[in-house]
């Protein structure tokens, strides 16, 4: 049975069959030929996989992200960050990375971040003298930060799959997200000095105060989302729902950029986007149950123990696997397929499962822009009408920076776990 659950999904996946159908078909074939397993276990496990309140955070954060990016909030956030960094050489690059950090704190989606930030800042970077290759690389890779800075859709899915606290995962993602931002900012400063790029404008308190006033509602979003979670007022799911109400009210009545019809259409498209992931969650429910009852994870743990791998060797192997998988499959699907196999291995290797969740998230966030099939590559190609070869060349230094940060995040657990220890 275990073999069938391995080669059949691999063959269907390679044939381009939808991922949910890959898991569903493989599971139904196994159920049909296993006399002691009832077929009714299929729908039961599909329902059970979705019957988790924590997963409601996914549609809520996707809807909130849509409201923030189309309702005028992200544009005001960009102007505010630009006012802060405008007086520094390399200010536009720093503004881009700073906006990704802030946008990450209101939206958990890498693709949404690339689209929202790139729409405004890519033309600004080009006009500011940054070459096309650098601008494309910065914007395309910057989306990874939004997947790592909380709230993060990938962390919610990992939390549900590995039965770990989403609030702990969120706080553990802060320092890794900031670390990647700092690495990128250092490169931007070096790049702008080597090309003698000018600052956008002189730093002026008047500009900061004016843009802060204009962006005060936008700045309230991360305060509400993260403040409500860590003050203990709301669970991450409730906080995501509150963010939706906040986004609707600000976009409709404060900035007046969305009508109620626009909001309804956004609710529909957000639900559709969510369902692309959730239908895989449902199918993965049967698949991971079958893996467990057929003893695959236990066999893998025994096999790994026989190899006598040190934890660092195990983590290195996991990084290589996840980076490879992240290039060809979206992050959420990769977690759902691999978590039932990798989490028992990580536990057996003595790796903290919150730290492991951050390693998984950072790997898959990098996978989102890694050639040949990272989704953000195609977002940038479509939005900026740029040749793929140029985007890929532009990504090289940013990929190297993020891989270096990944190495530190993997082998220095304190980067992730220091803050997580303060959450009960």
């Amino acid at each position: 049975m275990g073999g069938l659950l391995g080669w059949l999904p691999a063959a269907l996946l390679a044939a381009g069959v939808p991922i949910f159908l890959v898991l569903l078909a493989a599971s139904l074939v196994v159920l049909a030929f296993a006399p002691d397993l009832p077929l009714a276990a299929g729908p039961q496990n599909m329902f059970g996989a979705l019957d988790k309140f924590a997963l409601m955070a996914v549609p809520f954060f996707i809807f909130a992200g849509g409201l923030f990016s189309t309702g005028g909030i992200s544009d005001r956030l960009i102007r505010w960050v630009e006012a802060l960094f405008g007086g520094v050489r390399g200010s536009l690059g720093l503004t881009t990375i700073g906006t990704f950090e802030f946008f990450g704190a209101i939206s958990g989606s890498s693709v949404a971040a690339v689209a929202a930030v790139g729409r405004t800042l890519y033309p600004a970077l080009r006009a500011g003298g940054y070459d096309d290759k650098f601008s494309l690389g910065l914007i395309t890779s910057g989306g990874a930060i939004a997947s790592i800075i909380p709230p993060s859709i990938l962390m919610i899915i990992y939390g549900a799959a590995a039965e770990q606290s989403v609030a702990k995962l969120f706080i553990a993602g802060f320092a890794p997200g900031l670390l990647i931002g700092l690495f990128t900012a250092s490169y931007i400063l070096w790049y702008s000095r080597s090309r003698t790029l000018a600052a956008t404008h002189r730093f002026a308190w008047a500009r900061v105060i004016r843009t802060t006033g204009d962006a005060v509602w936008a700045l309230g979003a991360p305060v509400i989302i993260l403040g409500s979670i860590y003050s203990g007022i709301c669970t991450p799911t409730e906080s995501a729902g509150i963010a939706c109400v906040y986004g609707m009210l600000v976009a409709r009545y404060v900035y007046r950029e969305l009508s109620w019809k626009d909001i309804f259409d956004l609710a529909v498209s957000s639900t559709m986007l969510t369902a692309q992931i959730m239908v895989i969650v449902a199918a993965a429910g049967i698949y991971s149950w079958l893996l467990t009852v057929s003893g695959v994870p236990q066999a893998l743990v025994s096999g790994m123990q026989a190899l006598h791998l040190a934890p660092w060797q195990f983590l290195l192997a996991v990084n290589l696997l996840l980076l490879a998988v992240g290039c060809v499959i979206d992050g959420g699907s990769a977690i759902l397929i691999l978590a039932p196999l990798l989490v028992p291995l990580a536990r057996a290797a003595g790796v903290d499962l919150i730290h492991f969740g951050i390693i998984v998230t950072v790997n898959l966030a990098i996978g989102m822009f890694t050639p040949p099939f990272g989704l953000n590559l195609f977002v940038s190609q479509a939005m900026f009408k740029a040749p793929m070869a140029l985007i890929v060349r532009g990504l090289v230094p940013f990929l190297a920076l993020q891989l270096t940060a990944l190495g530190l995040i993997t082998f220095v657990p304190e980067i992730s776990l220091y803050l997580a220890r303060f959450v009960k």
Partner: protein, 157 residues
């Protein structure tokens, strides 16, 4: 069929906004009126289940399911077409199977008067999303299969 899918979109938006409203009312009820909505979490989860399986049909119709296109895109056109036909047939068979098995489960739930823990709602109601959604998915897949077969026939002529 198209009208049914249009109704599905309307249902999705309504269910999502209802879930947002229940969540908001629950938090406000808890902190402002010291009276949380005790059934809120269960209701939201059931709404989510309905959203996912109704949306699955719309995603199938739009051809937007997440998949790994890396190797398939390298194959020649006739192979890609054959793979598309195979995937649509597999989708129809698997979806009808889930719809049929879950329908039998629902009948058994009604007979046993199985109810949810908090809302005490008949469990057949949230579970009905499975046969409803997967029947729609299967029908959409059959229509796609028909389209692909007709296109192939027209090309041969």
């Amino acid at each position: 069929m198209n009208r049914l899918l249009g109704l599905g979109r309307l249902l999705l938006g309504t269910l999502m906004l209802t879930a947002v409203a229940i969540n908001f009312a629950n938090v406000i009820g808890r902190y402002v009126f010291a009276s949380p909505i005790f059934w809120a979490e269960e209701a939201m989860v059931f709404l989510q289940v309905w959203c996912v399986f109704v949306a699955a049909a719309l995603i199938t119709e739009a051809g937007n399911h997440l998949r790994m296109e890396a190797l398939e895109s390298l194959a020649p056109a006739p192979v890609r077409r054959a793979l598309a036909i195979g995937a649509a047939a597999l989708m129809a068979v698997c979806s009808f199977t889930i719809a049929a098995v879950s329908s039998r489960m629902i009948v058994s739930m009604i007979e046993n008067d199985q109810r949810s823990i908090v809302l005490e709602m008949p469990m057949a109601l949230p579970y009905a999303a499975l046969p409803f959604g997967f029947t729609l998915v299967a029908l959409v897949a059959l229509r796609e299969l028909w389209r692909l077969a007709r296109r192939r026939g027209a090309e041969k002529q």
